[in-house]
Symmetry: C2
Subunit: 282 residues, 2 copies
Amino acid sequence: MNEPMKNEIKNAPIGVFDSGIGGLTVVKELIKSLPGEDIIYLGDTARVPYGTKSGRTIIAYSHSNTEFLISKGIKLLVVACNTASSVSLPSLKNEFDIPVIGVIEPGARKAASVTKTGKIGVIGTPSTINSSAYKQAIENINSEIEVFSKACPLFVPLADEGWTEGEITERIAEQYLNPIKDTGIDVLVLGCTHYPLLKQTIRKVMGNQITLVDSAQETASQIKDILSKENLLNKNNSQSKREFYLTDISDTFLSVAGRFLGEKIAKIEMVDIVGTTTRPSL
Amino acid sequence: MNEPMKNEIKNAPIGVFDSGIGGLTVVKELIKSLPGEDIIYLGDTARVPYGTKSGRTIIAYSHSNTEFLISKGIKLLVVACNTASSVSLPSLKNEFDIPVIGVIEPGARKAASVTKTGKIGVIGTPSTINSSAYKQAIENINSEIEVFSKACPLFVPLADEGWTEGEITERIAEQYLNPIKDTGIDVLVLGCTHYPLLKQTIRKVMGNQITLVDSAQETASQIKDILSKENLLNKNNSQSKREFYLTDISDTFLSVAGRFLGEKIAKIEMVDIVGTTTRPSL
């Protein structure tokens, strides 16, 4: 590749998609570790949530999200959704010609590197847990590690509702977490981008001896490594830009998006990639 | 209309759509009160839930669902989803040339007819409550009735999770319902098709003095009236047929659908009306 072309790619934005706004927790970590990078975020809020849908549907949605971001000229794609990462990654890597990073592998790698008991817990949406993606990723790294998984379907609506602490949330967390707490795990992977918002409650239920792995942090750190290694870091950027697109904008999403990102979002644009303006033909 | 044509319409099925499987509670009541009618059900499980999405998106989804059912030759459309009823009904009635029945008006009419204190409570999803559809429908019937509304976003995921009773669900119900319990209402409208599954818990929190209005029952009863009045009842049907279509089929939906309908579903077909097999162009 010649130098001007390489520079053009370096200056291109990082694309991030999620089923909704949960992926903003990944953007938050990206901004922390790569402040010089431009970021384009797409939240597929018209079709959220992915966690209860079939693999076939999740793959189709992931492809249309990726096509939108590719049309914006991104240099690297982050699938900031555990469900989509667990189901769509092979298909996306096969179809598109840019680096594609999911949130599963970075979380799995971190968990495998810190466990001492050789027992790791993973929590996530029903789709993520049913896919066994974390279990497989961890066993690929070290086949002697035992993985205990638990789907926690109410955690996403609890985070959306803003009930991140308090007695009700603790009781629900106990109901989900007590069975894996008693297995001897010393690491728990928060396998859903919404779950870091419930970190304090999860910590309270699990106790201080257990390390919580936040996939968002690990993913940001892996992206930094890849861009460095490929010499693709954007070094000329004093004023990095961030663009936020949603496939549907409702009051609910606007009111919680800032909480997920940890800063105020200046502007969100609505984009129609799912045929809501033109009715699909039968 | 000539007699053979009228007979053909009489024998046509009733079409029912919902954002997911909650509308099966309406089908259950339809089967009870109109056992001779054929029913075609469409659950838009690829795009569920509607309750947190924008009005514009909900209207577009409602239109594509209706087009699918019309293509199946239905004689009457039931919008068995409170969110879609509250937002899309005027637009559907305007666009399509068959009777369109929502779940809001039957529930509102029943509530207005039984209240003695003139104070009615309404619970539903954020979209239904924000639309003020029940409030308006009740005030249109009797402008002196006071309506107290409360969105209960966690009730749908609780019903889906199967946590319909028990201490956690009661605590959540108290959190939502205590504020409207203290207003002097004597009727509470269950303004979401999922909520009848939580009826026992809601009854426990609200007490026996308060009448619970189940929109599903009232809707079935209104449909019977309309078909009788229009002379459109199917009277020649000894073996009524029921067809179930979903826009996405996942394990989660299959396992709970039977619980909503109250009987085993023999066959569910997956139908692509939302462009999941062919990726939408940008």
